[in-house]
């Protein structure tokens, strides 16, 4: 998976998504119990959820590529960013755009802090130690948030510009449901260009490939790793903000499930590949919605869907949909 990182597979990514969509629509039409507008509504719901997953999954995939570790604390950085957003709007009365910028600026500090305190001291330590440290950092953030903010949900302030409902025929969706895919697409394009063309981006790829050699070549490895955490945290913050606008209840444990699912999305798409993360996000988002839509009898199993997909992918194609199989480094 360290092989062809950040390959530009945009076309194939889009193709895969379209194929999946077509297959589902075809299936639904076949069984014929669903009317067109209802199916359309489900698809809109799924795309909106999927693009949110995609946004957060990119952060996971970037850290994984650089450090080869699951950043369990990513989901809690996401959670902390929601608290930042909550406080900047309710306590400091910021307009939401300013709040978004402040949160996107403040959240990376948490990411950097975690990297510095919990991951950097263990560089070169066995992989299991780093994994445990990541779990510990996540645990600490959750407990600290519970202690500081209490377990009761904080109501994310309503942002009419984002939450206003648009009706097209009998299909309803919020403005935020269009904003999220646009942001995700924009970030995708920016990141891919950055990684392929900017000097720092190239250095990032070098570190991902082999950081010892990158260091020898004069790359500031620690700086690159910090930068990765900054980018990942900004994505978590933006994703968190949109998440808050869409699902306005902020609790200390709220990051856990979305975090796991987004990591699964990153693995499914092919970890180390930004396009893969986006595809994985869409597969999970759409899949979760469509499983409830097409098989109402098993709606209680919805949360298991992500894990079933994960295991199937790991068995059939361990490197994920877009990842390229690589031999283990000795």
């Amino acid at each position: 998976m360290i092989g062809k990182i950040f390959r530009n597979n945009l076309t194939s990514a889009i193709l895969v998504i379209i194929l999946i969509l077509l297959a589902i629509v075809f299936y639904a039409a076949q069984i014929g119990h669903m009317e067109g507008p209802v199916l359309l509504q489900h698809l809109v719901n799924g795309i909106s959820l999927g693009s949110l997953f995609a946004l957060i999954a990119i952060g996971y995939t970037m850290v994984y590529t650089i450090l080869s570790m699951i950043n369990f604390a990513h989901s809690d950085i996401f959670m902390i960013s929601l608290y930042f957003a909550f406080f900047s709007i309710t306590v400091f009365n910021m307009p939401w755009v300013l709040a978004l910028i402040c949160v996107a600026a403040a959240t990376p500090l948490v990411g950097l802090l975690i990297e510095r305190l919990a991951y950097r001291p263990l560089r070169g330590a066995p992989k299991n130690s780093v994994l445990i440290s990541a779990i510990g950092a996540s645990f600490l953030l959750e407990n600290a948030a519970t202690y500081l903010f209490g377990g009761r949900p904080k109501a994310f302030p309503d942002i009419p510009a984002l939450t206003r409902v648009i009706s097209v025929g009998s299909v309803n969706f919020q403005v935020v449901s269009i904003v999220i895919p646009i942001i995700t697409a924009a970030i995708l394009v920016i990141l891919i260009n950055f990684i392929h063309h900017a000097k720092t981006g190239v250095a990032m790829r070098a570190v991902a490939k082999d950081y010892e050699i990158a260091r020898v070549m004069g790359v500031n490895v620690n700086g690159i790793i910090s930068l990765t955490f900054i980018i990942g945290s900004v994505l978590a913050a933006v994703g968190g903000f949109m998440w808050g606008a869409k699902y306005p209840g902020v609790t200390p444990m709220m990051g856990v499930m979305p975090g796991l699912k987004c990591f699964v999305a990153a693995v499914v798409g092919g970890i180390g590949d930004i396009n893969g993360a986006v595809i994985g996000g869409f597969i999970l988002g759409l899949g979760e919605v469509l499983i409830v839509a097409l098989f109402p009898g098993i709606s209680g199993y919805r949360d298991a869907f992500a894990f079933v997909v994960l295991i199937v992918i790991l068995l059939v194609r361990p490197s994920g949909i877009l990842g390229s199989p690589v031999a283990e480094k000795v």
Binding site: S68, M69, I70, L117, A118, P121, L122, A125, K127, N128, S129, L131, I132, S133, I135, G136, A137, F139, L140, N143, A144, T146, Y147, G150, G151, V256, L260, F263, V264, V267, I298, G300, Y301, D303, A304, A306, F307, V308, L310, I311, L314, L315, P318, E328, V330
Partner: protein
């Protein structure tokens, strides 16, 4: 004391002493202290099972909560007296096939362990080909799938309502007997050639394979044995609580055992046992952090609910970062080691 017979006698003596002590304490202690000490022993069993995979074989599994759930449900489903079942399963009656089967606790525990082992075998076969963190996330996924299955299988598990009236097990002697048996079996396993093969895999998979160790077979064996003990531990856990419901077995439960084996030392039986006691008792002891504290009549504001868990997680991070080897590292407490302690301290004094 140097010959093996002497050591064996000594070991048996320690075991007998532990069990007799458990037997005596069972009558002497109040139910609160007894409950905590029982929990220590049960956590030790489950942590040992996790350490077999994570510490001794060098894999990273996060699936213990799922295996525990299987064991706990085996105990809950089969040991509740048949006449009490209908009152619990009031939404949907229990599957007729299961409704009248009643098993003694020991049989249910073993059944739970075997079922967990069977599930581990089925999922381990494909999953164990994965490396490191992929395995972690896949096993975590499995444990969540098991929980969600149990939540939805209303006629077998009673879904979210859980199963109440599980005959309670609070006898320290029985629980400590189970712990001693677990320790003994794992010790025998790990000192056998099989155990050395597992450790070889931990040190270097490729070298181990080159030496003719069948990787998948050995990993699978470790995984299945681990699941068996986790199932038994889960069964004891269910019997200790007296009620079982799927929410108990959310994947974060596994983190407790990860913490224990990290503190005790990845790859140390005695360390795991010590850490189980420290963590379980420590969690209770740290409770005062949650209570308002008044010093000289002034209420210290930082003492409020939640502080305990913050302190606890900070301690965890300190251990992970600064004492990576934990209490015991990969070593064990042995009689030889105990004999050497005075020597070591003497030596240190000389060093100065």
């Amino acid at each position: 004391m140097k010959n093996i017979n002497g050591k064996t006698v000594l070991t048996l003596g320690v075991i007998a002493f532990t069990l007799i002590l458990a037997f005596i304490l069972n009558g002497a202690l109040d139910s609160y202290v007894r409950r905590i000490l029982n929990l220590c022993a049960i956590y030790a069993i489950i942590s040992l099972s996790l350490n077999l995979v994570n510490g001794f074989t060098g894999m990273f599994s996060l699936g213990q909560a799922g295996f525990m759930a299987i064991g706990a449900y085996a105990v809950a489903i089969f040991t509740v007296p048949a006449e009490l079942r209908a009152s619990g399963f009031y939404l949907e009656p229990m599957m007729p096939l299961l409704a009248n089967i009643e098993l003694p606790l020991i049989a249910a525990l073993l059944l739970g362990g075997l079922l967990a082992a069977l599930v581990a075998f089925v999922i381990g076969f494909p999953v164990l080909r994965l490396r490191g963190d992929y395995l972690a996330i896949a096993t975590l996924g499995f444990s969540e799938i098991i929980r969600i299955l149990f939540t939805n299988m209303q006629s077998v598990t009673n879904g979210a309502l859980g199963i109440k009236n599980v005959p309670q097990l609070s006898n320290m002697f029985l629980i400590y007997l189970a712990a001693v048996i677990t320790i003994a079996l794992l010790h025998l396993l790990l000192t056998s050639s099989y155990g050395r093969a597992l450790k070889a895999i931990r040190e270097d998979e490729i070298v181990a394979e080159a030496m003719g160790i069948n990787l998948l077979k050995h990993k699978l064996a470790a995984f299945v044995i681990s699941a068996f003990f986790a199932g038994v531990g889960g069964g004891l856990y269910g019997a200790l609580l007296g009620t079982v419901d799927p929410k108990n077995f959310i994947f974060t439960l596994t983190y407790n055992f990860v913490l224990i084996i990290v503190l005790g030392g990845l790859g140390s039986i005695s360390g795991t046992v010590i850490a189980s006691f420290i963590i379980t008792i420590g969690m209770e002891w740290l409770r005062f952090f949650d209570e308002p504290l008044k010093l000289f009549g002034i209420e210290i504001l930082i003492f409020r609910p939640g502080l305990r868990m913050v302190v606890f997680s900070v301690l965890l991070m300190v251990i992970v970062l600064f004492f990576q080897k934990g209490i015991m590292g990969q070593r064990e407490i042995s009689f030889d080691m105990l004999r050497r302690i005075p020597l070591r301290f003497g030596k240190r004094r000389e060093d100065r």
